[in-house]
Symmetry: none
DNA sequence: AATAAACTCAGGGAAAACCCTGATTTACAA
DNA sequence: TTGTAAATCAGGGTTTTCCCTGAGTTTATT
């Protein structure tokens, strides 16, 4: 019997999950929670095999929570269960340790299948998500699949750019000259293959370089 | 016994609704559908008392569907059941004949209560929605959830900014002067309460204003 | 028909971003 | 030891963004 916990802030969705899995012979929901905070202790003590995790949650971001869990105990396997149909979120949470990604429009069979696959150590992505990732990699290959190496300083500067700081302000904050910041900026623009600040921010968010 | 139908494209949510109402003595779910199209004939023939209706649906907009049903003078009473936590949607669908508005984070008791109230001819709005409508009429806007209305043109310009186009390029593309584009830019900066292009891109992506 | 909102455009100026070449220092690895 | 990557900084110039005031036109709503 595979033990499962779920975190979602919608009681309706939790009920739906419970109902979908109720008659399964292999999968058992042992608890469900409205927030990460509520779930945390139970996960620690009861150690479920699988966690179904929403991303938009009231108290904390699902991606962050996934990261934390992975850092602390590698045994639990996380399946993202969310409405966010954006490849950037998929990449981001997979990069942070999730093994599956399902949209909430999934059905009973797929949910059960995903849980079993992930339990066995495989990865499970919903078909439509999989297709979109493929399409994307065929379409904009060079840029989107390439993850450039950014130096420590470049990442720092990038974060501050995203926080709307100007070159002058960044210079003041890091105790370096504006000229140095400009150098980092142009390196970032080259490395990330964009044209200006707008592209910098977009790519950084899409690739999750903000963390 | 109050008869209820539900339309939602997420099987999970439909299951949740069914489960929530299963043990009720006064309310009975008689059918549920993934799209308006599928539901239409059943509504016509079986004439349920209440329709739980999502707004974002694959084949048609819930608000439009509500309008159509009301135009055909069916006696059915519509309760919007959606994730759209924006007063504009509430006002819009209420204006088009809906009698209730619930978010999907509602619980069993509230769902049942709302159905009963609406069945009796009363209006039912979820507490948080009600409060926000009140706040709004007093001119209070909470900055966290506040998503300003962008005009058609502003959205167009915003998308092109995110695509790394310069003001000049945007002007060429939209066949307007650079000065006009600059006006839109500064309106965007004001409305979204940011300091520069970086903030514009970040907020737009985070709030999903790109669609 | 009247009001409001949206869209358009202009001038002028300050600030910021972008681009290029070139250079020094530090650190770490081959 | 030598080479490479990283981080630092400068000069000097171009382009873009940002900000302000002001104003005419179109479109939607009432």
């Amino acid at each position: 019997m595979i033990t499962v916990m779920a975190i979602d802030d919608h009681p309706m969705v939790l009920r739906g999950i419970e109902t979908m899995l109720k008659n399964s012979h292999d999968v058992k929901i042992i608890a469900s929670f409205k927030s990460c905070h509520e779930a945390y202790q139970s996960i620690k003590s009861d150690k479920p095999d699988i966690l179904l995790l929403d991303i938009n949650l009231p108290d904390c971001n699902g991606i962050e929570f996934c990261k934390i869990l992975k850092k602390e105990s590698s045994s639990i396997k996380v399946i993202a269960l969310t409405n966010l149909n954006e490849t950037s979120f998929v990449k981001n949470i997979i990069r942070n340790g999730a093994k599956g990604y399902l949209l909430k429009n999934t059905c009973k069979n797929e949910l059960e299948l995903a849980i079993k696959k992930v339990y066995k150590g495989e990865q499970y992505l919903q078909k439509s998500i999989q297709q979109r990732l493929l399409d994307e990699s065929f379409g904009i290959t060079s840029r989107k699949t390439f993850i450039p190496k950014l130096t420590r300083r470049e990442k720092e500067v990038l974060k501050l750019i995203i926080d709307e700081l100007t070159t002058q302000e960044i210079a003041d904050k890091l105790f370096i000259s504006t000229k140095t910041v400009e150098t980092h900026r142009s390196h970032l623009i080259q490395k990330l293959d964009v044209r200006n600040t707008a592209g910098l921010v977009r790519i950084a968010i899409e690739k999750g370089l903000t963390n």
